[in-house]
Amino acid sequence: MSANATVDLDPARPARQELESAVVRFAGDSGDGMQLTGGQFTQSSAMAGNDLATFPDFPAEIRAPIGTTFGVSAFQINFGSRVIKTSGDSVDLLIAMNPAALMVEIPNLRAGGMVIVDSGAFTERNLHKAGYRTNPLEDGSLDKYRTIPIDISKLTLDAVKEFGLSKKEALRCRNLWTLGLVYWMYARDRQTTIDWLSQKFASRPDLAGANAAALNAGHAFGETVEMSDVSAGFTVRPADIAPGLYRAVTGGEALAWGLVVGADLAGLTVMFGSYPITPASAVLHTLSNLKHYGVITFQAEDEIAAACAAIGASYAGSLGVTSSSGPGIALKGEAIGLAVSTELPLVVINSQRAGPSTGMPTKTEQSDLHQAVFGRNADSPVAVVSARSPSDCFEVAIEAVRLATKYMTPVILLTDGYIANAAEPWLIPDVDTLPPMPVKFRTDAEGFQPFLRDPATLARPWAVPGTPGLEHRIGGLEKDYDSGHISYDPVNHERMTQARMDKIAGIADDIPRQAVEEGGERGRLAVVGWGSTYGPINRAVNRLRGEGLDVSHIHIRHIWPLPRNLCDLLGGFEQVLVPELNTGQLLTLLRSECLVPAEGLNKISGQPFKIAEIETAIRARMEA
């Protein structure tokens, strides 16, 4: 279909076309409500039983001038009747609310994909602001897409006329009109959104009504004004997913909840010290709303104070947690070293973003692995774990709490900007069935020495101020192995350094053996990933295995120490490929620990991998 495609009124309505999955991307100005729109569409897809993954893509600016390309805000959802693991390589349906959105987002649309534009927003002025010299709706530049220009502005104004809103307010309903149309296209139910509107605008019934009217009008437009390209619309059947109670969850939320649940399983309360930073603040915000679970959030004066306050809280018997992104974690290095030396539990969350330095705060990257494993002065080993998806953050947070409290050690939890903001459906666990992992504070004065270790875990006792008879002093100077007093003794320092190493290394016996996600335990190629690359790697391997390629996917949660069997496992493959959103950081570990000639597949563009990129790389290695 050509760029001049318009509405086709042919009444012979064919049946809805069935799709296995679809990727829809809503894009508009920051003020156009695209995130809300996407959120509503996500809910309705979930209700329809699809599996799904979403990714909100905010502009870097707080509120850029209207109509500019750098003010474009987008929300992408991939939903289907099959298992969905990424928010989608390329877009099937793009919604562009203005020329800037079209300009920025059109490269994401697959050739032959569909784009719905609000032609009413394609004014001279807006075209100019977006950097168009000619109108793309007219110059043929969209020929390779199926373009559906609709004057959504005008249709919205018409739809909400009766509510007597100002023009500005009325135009704010454009997103709901559009959502209505998209609902019709995928045969979605509108009720949840209407309910949500009346709740959201409880104090402004006119707005609630107008928005609902716009939603309905958009829907009706689809139903009545049949579009040749859409025929009768699409359906996406429910996916075959485990039964149970679901919700959508972002990484930020899941992490926060995992911390609270983990602390509860350990019998502790959370003291969360943080300093705002993109994209880590979501955890702070979520936890700040959980005071009724006893959670204390402390917005410190800086990252150092945040880490130190968390250490103080752990010392006093709470679960000290601190959270930041790369630049902030850099500042915490010295304090983390104190927690290593004093052997106090501490969970350190790093929501990674693109760097170096300030970098691109709103863009994702996996480039703080080196920093997590190696980034402190002296030999100061810590445990490092990573989350692979939004919902995985919940489990990983509990695991971090378990390791920190059981081994009296800092644990660094790596997540990233993609996971923090992306949402996916989550089969809500029953907290009462999770295994408790209660902490035992030391209370017995008999034989107590603050750094005498548990022979099994090598953890020192946790003796909390307020406990009579256990008064003692700790600090960052080297301590005598037996008495815990300051010691400059050479042999003792060697022994303590070794004990700190061994304690962390020993965690390898207390974590699951490394499993293979897809494919065999030996073979031609292992694709080894960690963190948020899970989805695209898994899909790529899955697809290529479908084609008969001998490739396996291994995904590492425990970055340090690595699972005991990992080197053996990798030894069973002819080639090892390590896709990472950095220049090759897990790669350093795998090569130095296992001496395997692993190769990196590196993307450092601030964007997640596309499935196709990984497929291409795998194919190249299989053909070689």
Binding site: Q43, A46, G49, P238, A242, P243, G244, L245, Y246, R247, A248, W257, V260, V261, T269, M271, G273, K291, H292, Y293, I296, F298, A300, E301, D302, I304, A305, A306, C308, A309, A310, I311, G312, A313, S314, Y315, A316, G317, S318, E334, A335, G337, L338, I428, D430, V431, D432, A445, P450, P465, G466, T467, P468, G469, E471, H472, R473, G475, G476, I486
Partner: protein, 339 residues
Amino acid sequence: MNVVRLSEKLVAKDFATDQEVRWCPGCGDYAILKVMQRTLAEIGAVRENTVFVSGIGCASRFPYYMATYGFHTIHGRAPAVATGIKLARPELDVWVVTGDGDGLSIGGNHLLHVLRRNVDLQVLLFNNEIYGLTKGQYSPTSRVGTRSPSTPTGSVEHPVSAAAFALGAGAHFVARSVDTMQKHLAEVLKRAHAHRGASFVEIFQNCIVYNDGVFSDFTEKDVADDAQIHVEHGRPLVFGEGKTRGLRLDPAKLILETVTIGADGVSEADVVVHDETNRTLATMLVALEMPVALGVLYCAPAPSYETSIRERIDEAKASHPGDDLNALLRRGHTWTVSG
């Protein structure tokens, strides 16, 4: 640790550890330690509920010598660690010991914020106007012209006044004393302890090795009377032998001037009466170079941070009765997939 527990009232030595004290012989820190141990006994402190938190420096070795809980942290960060302790366990009695380098150089920001937030801690800043532990470099409180290994021809920086800084930071309790003034210091420590909120105490401390005698112009016995004014709330600001000298407000220059009672028609009524709740007065007292004002310069209690935080938590709990963790995960929009 101290396994022996006494049922009777503790005495000073019950607060001493078995660790050998490792300051230089003659260091002012010894005197402060002695006063602290005695003061804790006198106020009936409970060892297990008392925590000393310090940064790094000679002063910051303090916790090792107190038979309480103790945390020798990292340089400059003691206020932050102490804040975490207090948030986790408000019932603990937490003392922060810091130096002029630890507290005002690397740690100035944490000091600012702990004072502003009014966390219920006693912050004792041992000011010897030098970096002792790292062998004698000048510090932010060193006077202009201080010769040190890093300023061989004398420092050029304007020093910061610890007490003026604390007042500017919004501290609610600011006091001063001297290492060797055992009685005075004990009283100041007791007042600091009694104050709920952040209590800031600057203790002039002699570093016999790197800055010996830097305070002698007002601490030496023969000059002390005329060079010190001991302020007391509700009492006139008098000093000198026989308390014949006093401070009068010069309302034009807005400073406190020294007058002699009985001379030039000055009467006791002209002398300002100390009001420890008056911030402007405290600012003027702090600015005095001679006599040096000692004692509780300012004390104006306000709700302490950890108390307010705890109140918020209690309110939140009260308004969400019966919320369990399953409820948390199920809050908001959910849907059921049936098998």
